[in-house]
């Protein structure tokens, strides 16, 4: 239990750091982009809304600590400001739509990729120097060395543009109304997600596979494995419940640590496929100088990563009795 409480405290600190960064980064920039942005707003926005937007950034009269307090207060009330590019929709609303798409696509793809890679890693370590170890691992590693966005471009070029097997952009056919109960819409969503999902799954899999293989190899040479085999337990039981269960613990920690990096890959893949998730939104926000949206997305991704880490911690406690 104390393990979880310690972790929780750490995530709170990390969240606070992200919030603080968000406040100070615009203030460290030369050329004062925020003032420029507010200047562009002048006249388009009624004074009340402008004041509220300024408050969301903490741009109020007074010393910096007071500004920070205003910013925190607004944040606590969920006021992330108004999107400039999709005016007058609030940042929270714009992000909500994007987050849905990203979580469905990238969440599924990341979990599938981790599970498949881990399973392959178990097999590769168990049957060293055989097919999975000698052919699948190098092949996936080669693919893993490719930049995400280039794999995405290749997949798009070959399978969508040349062969025409898949749609080329967006998350669903725009001729179909967005209705989560209609089967035509669901099929369209599925068709649009295949290519980006496969890109994410295959580029990341090699890393998980190699990590799990190397952990397994370390575990397999330990005495309790020999003991289990000497007892005459079935191979599969030794492999899964004895070796893999122990080997997966460092893999899980690695998974949690690299989630922040995985997010980067997901952003780029979304951008290539024009998939309307958070990554695509972030790029549009940057291009439109939609600073409130940009800031909001940074906080959102950070919090999502922190939550995912907390989830992995819970899983860890479940798998490792020592952490309880």
């Amino acid at each position: 239990m104390s393990f979880l409480i310690r972790r929780l405290g750490f995530y709170l600190i990390a969240a606070f750091v992200a919030i603080t960064l968000n406040f100070f980064i615009p203030r460290m920039m030369v050329g004062d982009p925020v003032t420029l942005m507010f200047a562009r707003f002048q006249g388009r926005l009624d004074p009340h809304a402008l004041a509220s937007l300024k408050a969301a950034f903490g741009f109020v009269e007074g010393p910096i600590l007071q500004q920070f307090a205003t910013y925190l207060q607004n944040l606590a009330q969920g006021n992330l400001g108004t999107s400039v590019s999709q005016f007058p929709v609030s940042v929270a609303q714009v992000m909500g739509v994007g987050l849905g798409w990203t979580l469905r696509l990238a969440g599924t793809a990341t979990i599938v990729s981790f599970l498949a890679g881990t399973l392959l890693g178990i097999v590769a370590a168990w049957r060293r120097g055989r097919f999975a170890d000698n052919y699948i691992l190098p092949l996936l590693s080669l693919l893993g060395a490719f930049p995400y966005f280039f794999v995405a471009m290749l997949a798009l070029y070959i399978f969508a543009f040349q062969f025409g097997w898949f749609p080329v952009l967006h998350a669903y056919d725009l001729n179909i109304a967005e209705d989560w109960t209609s089967s035509a819409f669901l099929i369209s969503v599925f068709q649009h997600s295949i290519l980006p999902a496969l890109t994410l799954i295959f580029t990341a899999m090699g890393g998980w596979m190699l990590g799990m293989r190397n952990n397994m190899i370390g575990i397999l040479s330990q005495d309790f494995i020999v003991m289990a085999q000497a007892k005459g337990l079935r191979d599969r039981r030794v492999m899964l419940t004895y070796a893999a269960r122990n080997a997966i613990l460092p893999s899980l920690t690695g998974f949690a640590i690299s989630l922040g990096f995985v997010v980067g890959g997901i952003l780029l893949v979304e951008i290539v496929f024009s998939y309307p998730g958070v990554g695509y939104l972030l790029l549009s926000a940057v291009n439109a100088r939609d600073y409130p949206l940009m800031q909001g997305i940074f906080l959102l991704t950070t919090f999502t990563v922190l939550l995912a880490n907390l989830f992995v911690d819970l899983l860890y406690v479940l798998l490792d009795p020592r952490a309880r």
Partner: protein, 313 residues
């Protein structure tokens, strides 16, 4: 484990602590680990590919007939032909020249950022591990926080505020946001070494702390530092290319990322002009692959159990 391609610094099982071999005065000999690096097949292939690209970057002017790669030299959208071996972009720039000159920016940013990342990682990781106490608590906390914050979104946000940062700014931003992984790995290794006998001996003899750190601790972490450096370079090259590809770098600079950016913007996928995006993309992938191979090699050398072709490596 993690994704090797995007993680600055790879976890490597550390070499058992031992004293660095005595310096030979007369005949210089490559350290053991360098020699084993060249005996490892994966690492050798990786080094060959990497050296090839370093040479391309160094001799870009000699290799490419078009000296100024940004210049418009011919009709746009030409497929590869005798004069322009990789064709031309939609605007009519020589793609071969862009790829060859682009190597300069990508490699420079990669190695510079990798160096910055590694140095910050060493300083923070070793200090944290060696000094211990509250300094360790604070530094570890900072390290873990930086590690958990998603790097690319942060970099994109900073780049967004800066409005198209140049390559050197990218190096700095990468350096400041990506050192945590290496610091964490080096901290735990320093902790292990600090309690080893030879360090205790050095302390008893009265060696000053800076001497112990530089001559006793660091030489025993060479393999970790090297693999961390390679991972950092890889991360920097991929991230820089990614930033430029989405149009957040200096779009007028010639680099692999910007060539891809223009290809994407000009609808190269749609028009089928594969020669505008395949060459730069493959170059990034090859450099990435070579660095990954070298890191696998280092991993296998430091942890012989991992080899799949036992005996040959």
């Amino acid at each position: 484990m993690d994704q090797s391609k995007v993680t600055p610094g790879q976890p490597t099982t550390a070499m058992p602590a031992r004293r660095a071999s005595r310096p030979r005065l007369l005949s210089w000999q490559a350290p053991d680990w360098v020699r084993s690096l060249f005996r490892n097949r994966k690492a050798t292939i990786g080094i060959i590919i990497l050296v090839f690209f370093v040479f391309v970057a160094l001799f870009a002017n000699q290799l490419s007939p078009t000296k100024n790669a940004a210049r418009i030299v011919a009709k746009g959208n030409m497929a590869p032909n005798a004069q322009y071996v990789l064709g031309t972009s939609k605007q009519g720039q020589d793609i071969f020249a862009q790829v060859v000159h682009g190597a300069q920016v990508s490699m420079t940013v990669g190695f510079l950022a990798g160096t910055v990342i590694t140095i910050i990682g060493i300083v923070i990781g070793v200090t944290s591990g060696y000094v211990g106490g509250w300094a360790d608590e604070v530094l570890s906390l900072i390290t873990n926080v930086v590690l958990i914050l998603p790097g690319l979104p942060l970099i994109i946000v900073v780049a967004g505020w800066m409005d198209r940062p140049g390559p050197l700014t990218v190096v700095l931003v990468l350096g400041l946001t990506s050192w945590a992984y290496g610091a964490r790995v080096l901290r735990s290794q320093t902790l292990a070494l600090r309690n080893s006998e030879f360090v205790a001996a050095a302390r008893v003899v009265g060696e000053p702390t800076w001497r112990i750190v530089i001559f006793e601790i660091l030489p025993n972490m060479t393999s970790l530092v090297v693999s961390g450096y390679i991972g950092a370079v890889l991360y920097a090259i991929l991230t820089e290319a990614g930033l430029e590809f989405i149009g957040l770098g200096d779009a007028n600079a010639v680099s692999w990322g910007t060539t891809l950016y223009w290809a994407q913007n000009n609808g190269a996928l749609l028009t089928g002009s594969w020669w505008t995006f395949m060459p730069p993309g493959l170059c990034i992938a090859l450099v990435g692959f070579s660095l990954t191979l070298i890191n696998y090699g280092v991993d296998e050398i430091t942890n012989p159990r991992l080899r799949s072709d036992e005996g040959k490596a």
